[in-house]
């Protein structure tokens, strides 16, 4: 057991335990028999009903948090404790409900994509167009950092350029659907769009830069000798809607089941800051005035490995207390986009210089985004 864990540091304790968080349904090569239209209609009907109930409950959360705080616990308005309790009782179910909906939807979307399919699309693509396409495919293709190595080998051995492969590897974890919708839910569509747009931009450009640097010789020699992996296309095209719904439900069970303790812990931290830390406390250390705050945020964030869900409440608390948007965004991107466990896994196929270049180029991109937003906003 223990030697297995060593090979993948992500398998240890802490948030890293959710190693395959965000991974899709995977593929089982059993053809599913056709489902009759009535079953499909039934699934569709229950889906609409579930969505209606979800919406009603969601609408009721704010009144409930107020009732819980003031009527049930009879806390006095205005105190720190009251503010912290109300924040937690409102945010915790809200974030979990949003997560459930999004993870389900993304699970269904991902049932249309497989890494094999992404590779077939990308093989032989020219660099610039390939980088753009790879970054976009990285978002919708089910991918888990456990599979980074076989995926990397599968891509480069079948003619996907090295830089294009990196665009995929950068965007897959960085542009995270969970982070995207949580940002939308908590800060509005503008910040969510900024995050998605700059994340994709970093993936495209850093992949392109790595391609330009011509570092193919810094890939371990045996990789190019390996047989091209995953020649099966998978049966994604024949999957019925019933199966897609099950994929969605499976990913909800899988992901929510794993991340909820971190989400709650994150919101509790947020509630603590909300109630107790004075307004603008963070402005001094993480405000846009301090030039060194962005590089510091990136340097601290790169080795850290956390899932997007648990970092968001911290982001919210930091922003709420006067930390600059660019700095916080840079911190968040470097935490979820790059991690020490991932680099250790990639060491099996990449030489140290390429790993350092990879982290350096992506880190530089995040740094630029951070400064850009601190200047613009």
């Amino acid at each position: 057991m223990s030697e297995g864990c060593e090979k993948n540091p992500a398998g240890g304790s802490g948030p890293g335990a959710s190693c395959c968080e965000g991974a899709g349904p995977g593929e089982v090569s059993v053809t599913t028999a056709g489902v009759d239209p009535r079953t499909t209609a039934k699934y569709f009907g229950s889906g609409v009903l579930a969505l209606g109930i979800w919406w009603l409950v969601y609408q009721g959360l704010f009144p409930f948090a107020k009732w819980f705080t003031f009527s049930l616990l009879t806390l006095t308005p205005g105190s720190h404790l009251t503010s912290a309790v109300q924040f937690f009782v409102f945010e915790a179910p809200k974030i979990l409900m949003l997560l459930t909906l999004v993870v389900f939807a993304v699970g269904v979307v991902r049932s249309f994509f497989t890494p094999e399919r992404a590779r077939r699309i990308l093989a032989g693509k020219r660099e610039s167009a390939g980088n753009i396409l790879a970054a976009l495919l990285g978002v919708v293709t089910p991918f888990c950092s456990c599979s980074a190595v076989p995926l990397f080998i599968g891509f480069v051995t079948s003619g996907v350029p090295l830089g294009v492969t990196f665009s995929f590897l950068v965007s897959a974890p960085m542009v995270n659907e969970i982070a995207l919708v949580l940002l939308y839910g908590l800060f509005g569509w503008k910040i969510a769009a900024v995050y998605a747009g700059t994340g994709l931009g970093i993936a495209m450009i850093s992949g392109w830069v790595i391609g330009r640097l011509g570092m193919e010789s810094h890939v371990e020699e045996w990789v190019y000798a390996a047989p091209a992996g995953g020649d099966e296309e998978g049966e994604v095209l024949n999957v019925s809607w019933r199966d897609r719904v099950h994929f969605g439900l499976d990913s909800v069970r899988d992901i929510i089941g794993k991340v909820w303790p971190y989400v709650l812990a994150g919101i509790a931290v947020g509630a603590g800051i909300h109630g107790y830390v004075p307004e603008n406390f963070m402005a001094g250390i993480m405000g846009s005035g301090a030039w060194w705050s962005v590089p510091l945020a990136v340097v601290i964030g790169i080795p850290m490995y956390s899932n997007a869900a648990s970092i968001i409440p911290v982001v919210q608390a930091l922003l709420g207390k006067g930390a600059a948007l660019g700095t916080v965004l840079a911190f968040m991107m470097s935490v979820i986009g790059l991690s020490l466990p991932e680099m250790i896994i990639l060491r099996k196929v990449l030489k140290v210089r390429l790993i350092v270049t990879f982290a350096g180029v992506v880190g530089m991109g995040i740094l630029i985004v951070g400064y850009l937003f601190n200047v613009l906003l």
Partner: protein
């Protein structure tokens, strides 16, 4: 039958091994299960996602932890063929 569990040792790969062990037991199939953890060996199976399960060298599941029932269905399917 010879069953290979492909994975570099992440928690999902261990779960997969456990699921396959249970399925084999319940189905009463005569099979040996072994884990393949070396990435070079894994690549010989031509997979791009792990965990993966191969029966007699043929990859049947990849990129997810299967359920016991899924593995049993695959075992029954391959047994007949």
């Amino acid at each position: 039958m010879e069953i290979a569990i492909l994975g570099t040792g992440c928690p999902k790969c261990r779960q997969t091994a456990e699921v396959v062990r249970q399925a084999v037991e319940q189905a009463g199939v005569d099979a040996t299960i072994h884990k393949v953890e070396d990435i070079k060996e894994i690549m010989k199976f031509k997979v791009m996602t792990t965990p993966a399960v191969a029966f007699d060298g043929q990859v049947r599941i990849s990129g997810k932890v299967p359920t016991v029932d899924e593995v049993k269905a695959l075992l029954a399917h391959d047994g007949k063929a």
